[in-house]
Each structure stands twice: as structure tokens, then as C-alpha cells.
Symmetry: C2
Subunit: 335 residues, 2 copies
DNA sequence: TCCCATCGCTCAATCGTTTGACTGTTCCTA
DNA sequence: TAGGAACAGTCAAACGATTGAGCGATGGGA
């Protein structure tokens, strides 16, 4: 009910019997301010008493800084973004800035341009590949810092990547150690940067293990359970089917598992399955999936740091820490 | 490279050879402005030419409106919030306002108070029960609109709820129709509003079906797979175990399923299992779970509308649309 | 004793928009 | 032909915080 109109700096100054500039400097710890302790106390008491909170708009207007950063993701339903968000939020909170997370709507790219251009957000973390080239150009044109996370985005100078090649390699090595030689790959979308890197890693690791990549053992073209199921059926229909499959992501792996089940092919007895991204779902499937944990939260963290210009290097950063193979029930020694 | 310092209304006004107030009124479609079409065209051309974007801070300062609303959730990793976010974002985008979604950190409730009090956000959608009573009181004290979604929050006047009682009832009816009579309930946390409502619905539906609720058949106290597994073990250890179980949420159901598997109890042959919230995971488990789809996106939508004051009623709103039983493989006729 | 430095503040301009009030033309109507 | 209405804008005061410059009083050193 205490619907006090609105408390401003002037109100506080009046109550504390000082100029509002003093209040402002006290709040902002301005070291050019020389002040008697008792005056400072009066100011602080007044702030307390009136429950004063600085107006964000006025502050932004004067300082040309909003203390807000944006994080663009394609879809909240995909749990890998939850991790990225967590890392980014952590850094934002520590820097006392606000993180504005939203999904990209392809139909309205100008929304994001406006947010940057109007000064509402100071910089953007791009974790989505759903933005068109011209939308990105428009974003870049605002002159505000933009950092991409988890994929290369043409035109964006700073990027934070996971070591997708190594993730694939970890799986392939695990499978070869189990005695597998016909190792297939269900790949992600052709236009996806991560999918390409995972494919590269798969091929490289095969060669490193003395095996020759067989083009017939690469199937699929998507990150959904439908494309995964379809690709699995293709592979299992081969004259000489694979004994193990590296699936590019968990959604596709879920599809692959159910396709195998429907065909009466047992996992891991008849075919081993492993995938990339250790989201909780992976552990709860039957059989529980062998996966590679990726440093998603760390990537969010580093992305945020790069936005602040607090990162070490320049250009591309590959986050290697935390990448780890998690062996569960979906892979076993070759029969 | 065109690093023009910063384009303001004054720049546009100069180029268009009018007063800046004219430009402002043109932009805001002020109907009190009378203007020659050719002048308006000059203004629009100047805006285009300079790529002018109104400064959000200045506008907020003057109008005392930020065009930003907050949505607080406990955890991005929980897919039910992805749905709520989707609905809320939709409305926000249609109203041309910005939605700021963030997770609640219990350690820093003043963060949210500050955001409201500083005028950064104009209102709050609360989808989290992680806020302490005094944090909520502090939020309320800002005098800004607050709407809770998916649960009752003491002190918050507007709330959007799903019909959790009915969801439980749908499952119980489905199970009785399959011939089950010993129907158990693995309940959610004691301090959770949704958990209580689901329990009530379960009891009510049993009675409506002519069955007497047996306290021994209610187990559990949590929404995690650990509590679900534990509760399932308890139930299966009963002298006369249930033939069907309604689990309060999917996470607990996942635990329940794996507990059953470990004990060699088959689902649905030996015991039927069903749960509430039709998230994608439910369809991908083995066996695929029978669930009740809840109107989460619709709740997000309505919550946002309530924030705008555009909702119909006052106080409590229960969203019934879209609630639907999805029968899959985890429930079958009693053996 | 005088001067200057330091202390402890105050003054006022400024950030970019919005908006109520106001001004100077035309034009129509009585 | 005077007077009011409609037209086509202009003026200037806000909104609330930040910040460089300024200014009187006190104290210390030469």
C-alpha cells in the first residue's frame, strides 16, 4: 500500500541534506569524492530509509551502457542449450549484468537488430545457427560485440567451439579398443558446422586407428530422432552391416535405438551405439547410452567472457576441458 | 567500418529539416500530429538514410516504461519450462515487448527485486517456487505486476494453473477402465503445490470410481528419478503390490521404470505406469510412457496476458484446454 | 602572516525522447 | 470582411542519473 510515487536521487539528497551528485558518487564509489564518514552514513541511511533504487533507464541514458547482454538460442527444448545458458548466466551474474536469453524467430530477425541498435543490449552471444547471413550482417553493422558459441558463424570474428573432432575420436577409439572394425557414423545436417567437425573427427580417428573410412558406412543428414531412425535402418540393411555406430547427437541416437529395437537388433549385443553430448536423457534410456560429455557450460562461460573482452586469445577458442567419454550400456565388445 | 558515432532524433530532424518533435511523432504515430505527406516522407527517408534506431534508455526514461518483462524459472534443464517460455515469448513478441528469461538463484533474490525496482522490467512472471517468502514480499513491495504460473504463490494475487486434479483423474480413469483396482500414487514433494493437487486428483478419482484410497499405496516425496525409484521399490515390496502406478512427474517415472527393471518387474505386463507432462522424453523411453499432456505453452501465454492486464477474469485462472491423455506402451489391461 | 593544497562538498550541463502548449498561416463561413 | 477553425508544424520543459568544473573553508609550511 505504500505506493510512494517513485524515489529519485533528489529525494535521497534532500533527506540526507547533500547534493544529489554526492549521493550518486557514494553509490558508485567514485574515488574522486572526498567525504566525511558521517555524511556518507547520512546518505546511506537515507537510501535505506527511502528504499531507493537507481533508475536503470536514466543511468543507461547518461552512461550509454545498459549492463545487459543477449543470448540467442534456437530452442529452449534442447537441453544442450540449458547448459550453455547456465555457464553464461553465471558469468553475467558475477559481473552484475543482466543476461537476456531468447529464441531466434527467423521471421523477425530485425527484433535482434533493434535490440542491439537501440542500446537495449550491449552485445550478443550467438548460439543459434538459425540466423540468415543478412541478419548477421545487420547485427554486425550495429558495431556491437558479437561472439558465437558452439559453431562458426561467417562474419563473426570471435567464436567459442568445443573440440568436436576429439569427441568423435574418443568414441571411435573406445569402439576400436572393444574390437570393432566396421564402425559407422550417423551424421548431422550437411549445413551444420558441428556435424561437419564430428564427421571429420570420425574419419580422422579411423585412419589413426589403421582403418579405412568406408563411405557406405556414413548415413543420415539431421539431428532429429526421425533422421536417426532412418539412417539406422539404412545401415542395418547393408549387406555387411556395421557392428558399431557413432551417432552425431542424442536425438538422432534415440531414433537409432528405437529403429534397432523395431528391427529386433539388440544394442549392444548386435550393434554398439554411442553418441555426443552427455545430457541426462542419455543415462535414462534403455540401454543407457555411452556418450561424450562436452564442455557446454564452460563454453557459455567463455563466450560471456569474450563478450566482455576478458578472454585471453583472439578469434577462435576451442574449449577442451571437461570433454570426457562416459561409458554406459550401449557399447560392448564385438561379438 | 561506417562507425558513425550514434544517430539521434536530432540528426534525423536536421536531415529532414523539421523539428525533432515531428520525427518523434511520426515514429510513434501520434494522431495529434498534422503533417503534409511530403514532409512525412522526408522524415521517413531520413530515418532510412541514417539507419536511425530510437534509444531505448531515453525512451524508457521519458515514458517510464521499459517494454521489458521478466520470466523466472528454476531450471532451464527441465523441459516443462521450455514450453512455458515458448508460450510467453509468443505473446511478448506479438506485443513487441522483450521477455527476459532467467533462472532464480536463491542466493541472490535481490537481483530480481533490483530489476523490478530499477524499472528495468515492468512486471514478472513467476514460474519458480524457489523464491523465499521474504523475497516474494520484496518483489510485491515494488508495486509492479506479478503473476505466478503453474503454482500458487502466497501473496501473489494473479495465478495461472493447470488442472492437475483433472490430469490425475484422467490417468486413474484410464487405469480403472483397464481393470486395475490397486492403483498406487508416487507423489511429488510435500511442499509442492502441484504435487498436492495431483494427489488430491488421484484420491478424488479413486472415490469417483468406487474405489477406496489406500494410504499404503501412496509413496514418495519428490520430483527426481531417485525419489521415484525409491518409492517404486517400496510399493513393489508391499505384501500386496499395486498393479498400476500414477507417478507425479516424468523424472520420477523414469526412476520408477528403472527400479522396476532392476527388480525384474515388467512394465506394463506386471505393473502399469503412467505420469503427468507429455515431454518428448516420455515417448522415447522403453516402454514409451502413457502421460497426460498439460497446457504448458498456453499457461505461459495466459500468464503473459495477465501481466499485460489483458486477461479476462481476476485472481486464479485454471487452463483446461489442451489437457489430454496420451496412451502409449506403459499401461495395459490388468493381467 | 601569507599562500597554497587539501578537504568537502555544490553547480550545472548533458544523455535522447516525449509531449503539452504554443505560433503563424490558410481557408471557409457568416 | 472579420473571426474562428483547421492546418503544419515549433518550442521547451521534463524524465533521473552522471560528471567535470568550481568554490569556500580549513590547515600547514615557509
Amino acid at each position: 500500500m505504500t505506493s510512494a510515487k517513485r524515489v529519485t536521487l533528489t529525494d535521497v539528497a534532500k533527506l540526507a541534506r547533500v547534493d544529489k551528485s554526492v549521493v550518486s558518487r557514494v553509490i558508485n564509489d567514485d574515488d574522486r569524492l572526498v567525504i566525511k564518514p558521517e555524511t556518507r552514513d547520512r546518505v546511506l541511511a537515507a537510501i535505506q530509509e527511502l528504499d531507493y533504487h537507481p533508475n536503470a533507464a536514466a543511468r543507461s541514458l547518461r552512461t550509454a551502457q545498459s549492463g545487459t547482454y543477449g543470448l540467442l538460442i534456437p530452442d529452449f527444448a534442447n537441453p544442450i542449450y540449458a547448459e550453455i545458458i547456465k555457464g553464461a548466466e553465471q558469468v553475467a551474474a558475477a559481473r552484475d549484468t543482466v543476461l537476456l536469453t531468447g529464441t531466434v524467430h527467423e521471421d523477425h530477425p530485425e527484433r535482434y537488430v533493434r535490440m542491439l541498435a537501440s542500446g537495449r543490449v550491449e552485445g550478443l552471444l550467438l548460439a543459434s545457427d538459425k540466423l540468415s547471413a543478412k541478419a548477421i550482417e545487420a547485427l554486425r553493422h550495429t558495431g556491437r560485440p558479437i561472439v558465437s558459441v558452439n559453431q562458426r558463424v561467417p562474419g563473426v570474428e570471435r567464436m567459442i567451439l568445443a573440440d568436436d573432432e576429439r569427441a568423435s575420436a574418443l568414441v571411435v577409439r573406445h569402439l576400436t579398443e572393444l574390437g570393432h572394425e566396421r564402425i559407422a557414423h550417423i551424421r548431422g545436417p550437411r549445413n551444420s558446422d558441428t556435424a561437419r567437425r564430428r564427421l571429420n573427427g570420425y574419419r580422422g580417428a579411423l585412419r589413426a586407428g589403421g582403418l579405412t573410412p568406408d563411405p557406405a558406412l556414413v548415413a543420415g543428414d539431421g539431428y532429429t530422432s526421425e533422421t536417426g531412425a532412418e539412417a539406422m535402418r539404412e545401415l542395418l540393411a547393408l549387406p555387411e552391416p556395421p557392428t558399431a555406430v557413432l551417432v552425431a547427437n542424442v536425438a538422432a541416437a534415440v531414433g537409432a535405438l528405437s529403429a534397432a529395437r523395431q528391427l529386433g537388433v539388440r544394442v549392444p549385443e548386435d550393434v554398439s551405439v554411442a553418441t555426443i553430448h552427455d545430457i541426462p536423457l542419455a543415462a535414462n534410456l534403455a540401454p543407457a547410452l555411452t556418450t561424450v560429455r562436452m564442455p557446454l557450460a564452460e563454453m557459455g562461460r567463455q563466450g560471456m567472457l569474450a563478450l566482455f573482452g576478458e578472454d585471453s586469445g583472439s578469434g577462435r577458442t576451442v574449449v577442451r576441458t571437461e570433454t570426457e567419454l562416459i561409458v554406459r550400456d550401449s557399447t560392448s565388445a564385438r561379438a
